[in-house]
């Protein structure tokens, strides 16, 4: 028996629900790496 999955929540025009598999894949693609600015800011803090 498959374990139930818990995916992140998505808001569609204000309504909140669990992401579909396709939405989750897109979300992971969009957030899998830190943004270049977050990397740069981490460097800023390290220099201070």
């Amino acid at each position: 028996m498959n374990e139930p999955t818990t995916r992140p929540l998505i808001s569609i025009d204000g309504a909140l629900r669990e992401m579909t598999e396709e939405e989750h894949a897109h979300y992971l693609h969009m957030t899998s790496e830190p943004s270049p600015l977050m990397v740069q800011q981490a460097g800023d803090h390290a220099d201070q």
């Binding site: 992140p8 808001s11 969009m30 899998s32 830190p34 270049p36 977050m38």
Partner: protein, 184 residues
């Protein structure tokens, strides 16, 4: 009628109403717990240019950003660049990442309070979309300000957009998005 002050029971003429320059297209609440926020059907032929005002926004993770993608433009056609800084420092820092599939840091995001404005030019028209954004985050983790500009070289027509809480696994804790259209 003495425009723009309207009196009770005054007749609103077409010429007066058509002189209104900024029209509220949508007010949308960001529900707590959402990792991404879709705002659909807000860009149309009614307006060429838009102002998106974001306020009262928080995240469960401090010191990061909101990522923005137009709904019909998902390729590597987005550039963003500009300057940013942190409160308490006079340094102005440059930012100019490589082309990618979204505006990666369109607004700052933090645990306590974030607000900002995105000016969007021609998202619905079949031409390049240009963007200017400025925002502040007043969080305990990393209070900062961004002032960025961007382009999307895709000429696809988009009708909406998605905000992503950019730190992996993070969520929004609330907030409000207001989309306004500028009269053509």
């Amino acid at each position: 009628m003495t425009f723009p002050s309207f009196n009770v029971s005054e007749v609103l003429t077409a010429s007066d109403m058509n002189a209104i320059g900024l029209w509220l297209v949508r007010t949308q609440t960001i529900p707590a717990g959402a990792s991404s926020v879709v705002v659909s059907s807000v860009f149309s032929a009614n307006f060429n240019n838009y102002k998106i005002v974001v306020s009262g926004v928080g995240s469960n993770v401090g010191g990061h950003s909101i990522k923005m993608q137009l709904n019909n433009s998902t390729g590597n056609t987005y550039n963003i660049g500009g300057v940013y800084g942190t409160f308490g420092s006079a340094s102005v820092l440059g930012y100019g990442p490589a082309v990618t599939d979204s505006w990666t840091d369109v607004l700052p995001l933090d645990t306590t309070e974030t607000a900002g404005t995105i000016e969007l030019y021609s998202p619905f028209l079949t031409r390049r979309t240009l963007m200017s954004s400025f925002g502040v985050r007043s969080g305990a983790v990393s209070p900062a300000w961004y002032w960025f500009h961007g382009q999307d070289t895709s000429t696809n027509s988009s009708t909406g957009f998605t905000f992503f809480s950019i730190a992996g696994g993070s969520t929004f804790t609330g907030g409000t998005i207001r989309v306004y259209g500028y009269r053509n």
